[in-house]
């Protein structure tokens, strides 16, 4: 009876085409039946050389490319890049433009988080909440379309401000939408987030302790899910965030251990509520005025480099820019949140079920194009 049963591990390719990999990622997993022994994530299927493209386009011309880094949160990516160039130039952005930037950015944050939690729901087999949350996102897309004319790749922020002013009656429309949105999303949470089956699937799965999260350089909601209260908007305020009143939600281990999938998921749920708060404040406070600072047509920032950090939905996104005084960046490096989230998967995916791996990917909110740029 003491002799072990001799079993072999099966090696399975999860992806590049797999329903739960959220894009083109490949995981090579070695499993013992349903239990994963080893997981080797393989990135690079979506590498488009965006950082290299920057070296051959003008400073303004690179803004639409930042849309493509993280297609779920284009506004925030635009923002980070524009801020970096503005810092280099020393341009002051008009106050109204800052407010518009916050409004657009927070709307985009909501829509990105809606996809994140919706995709996590769908990975757990609940398709209705996913579609309903996407419906809410569709309304946000409509709103963003009103201000900039595009639904996904906005190219709304320009160096020194924003490209278009808010259309007439926009505040009323956003307020009306928020009244609907808060109730509708709360209902979707009752449908799936507080569902016992869902909680059982997410709670106590792949817990990341605060130390581990910091060791792996987690950022954004993933880091806050582990109970570390760090948010660039609060810790290193940019734009007008220091004037606004909002909380930084962190994981509280409400149903499981600290830093498990449910905590990471729930931080996003809470962040949507906070974003709604921010939006309401901004819409009330927004001043009249210019939306664009005077910027020359051919920008030539002084020689030097700059690293800017902003809080995008997928965490701390950094733009490192090196300028040699020409009309295009000499070197540009983007640091994204998904990539750091991805690096912990081999660690987390040890001795968990295949179904749990899907939950882990869903809760880390990995967007494939952002991994590879």
């Amino acid at each position: 009876m003491t002799s072990e049963l001799k079993t072999e591990h099966i090696t399975i390719n999860m992806g590049p085409q797999h329903p739960s990999t959220h894009g083109v990622i490949r995981f090579v997993i070695k499993t013992d039946g349903e239990i994963i022994h080893e997981c080797d994530p393989d990135v690079g299927y979506l590498h488009r050389g965006i950082e290299k493209i920057a070296e051959s386009v003008t400073w303004q011309g690179f803004v639409p490319f930042t849309d493509r880094v993280d297609y779920l949160a284009s506004m925030n990516a635009n923002w980070a890049y524009c801020m970096a160039v503005e810092e280099m130039l020393g341009t002051e952005v008009p106050e109204r433009a800052e407010y518009i930037r916050v409004i657009a950015g927070e709307l985009n944050r909501i829509s990105s988080h809606l996809v994140a939690i919706g995709a996590a729901d769908m990975d757990m087999g609940a398709i209705t909440p996913f579609v309903q949350l996407l419906r809410e996102r569709e309304y946000i897309n409509d709103l963003l379309e009103m201000i900039c004319g595009a639904r996904l790749t906005y190219n709304y922020y320009s160096i020194g401000g924003v490209n278009y002013d808010l259309p007439e009656g926009f505040s009323i429309k956003v307020m009306g939408f928020l009244d609907h949105f808060e109730v509708a999303v709360e209902q979707m949470h009752r449908l799936v987030t507080y569902n016992q089956i869902f909680i059982n699937r997410f709670a106590n799965v792949a817990a990341v302790s605060p130390e581990m999260a910091m060791d792996y350089n987690f950022v954004g909601p993933n880091l806050r899910g582990s109970g570390v209260k760090y948010d660039v908007r609060r810790n290193k305020p940019y734009s007008i965030y220091d004037k606004l009143d909002f909380e930084i939600p962190i994981g509280t281990a409400s149903v499981g251990t600290l830093g498990d999938c449910y905590d990471r998921y729930f931080v996003r749920v809470e962040e949507i509520r906070e974003s709604v708060k921010i939006l309401r404040q901004c819409l009330q406070q927004i001043p009249e005025g210019e939306i664009q600072a005077k910027v020359k047509n051919a920008i030539k920032p002084p020689v030097g480099h700059k690293y800017i950090r902003t809080e995008t939905p997928r965490g701390d996104t950094g733009y490192f820019i090196y300028s040699d005084g020409k009309t295009s960046p000499s070197r540009l490096k983007i640091r994204t949140g998904s990539f750091t989230g991805m690096s912990i998967i081999p660690e987390l995916a040890r001795n968990i079920f295949i179904a749990d791996l899907v939950a882990v990917i869903g809760s880390l909110d990995i967007v494939a194009p952002e991994l590879d740029r």
Binding site: M1, L5, K6, T7, E8, I10
Partner: protein
Amino acid sequence: MEIADLFFYLFSVMIIGLGGVVAFSRNLLHSAFALFFVLFGVAGFYVLLGADFLAMVQIMVYAGGVCVLLIFATMLSDNISQPGKSNLSFQTVLSTVAGGGIALLLLSAFENTTWNVVAPGAMEPTTNSIGKLLLNEYILPFEVISFLLLAAMVSAIMLVKKGENS
């Protein structure tokens, strides 16, 4: 020819043919799957004999339970995820002796039994009488056996749990 005769021959062909597959197939899983249909055919015979309850229990316990467990066990063996895995046997002498012995035993039993031949007629459903017999006359053996099974089950769980803890 009665309709029952047709089914008799059908089931016979099924049992003999698939029994051959079980014995001679080089693919372990083919044997296992064929065994399922052999057991199914035997259940068909029970139905033809009027033993309806027995037939259903045969399907439920042997075909649905034991056979599926067997397939599970087979799939646990080495390299089974590749179809075409062969199961060549090397213990020819031993298996011939064992098989021949069993065949002889069965043959002698067949020869020495006086078979009660009953005229074919309307066969009564047996469920009722089996139930009554089990819960009246044979209640003690029935309970003892169920207790034994329960004990076996509990101990199996205990064994597994012990392995898990260490």
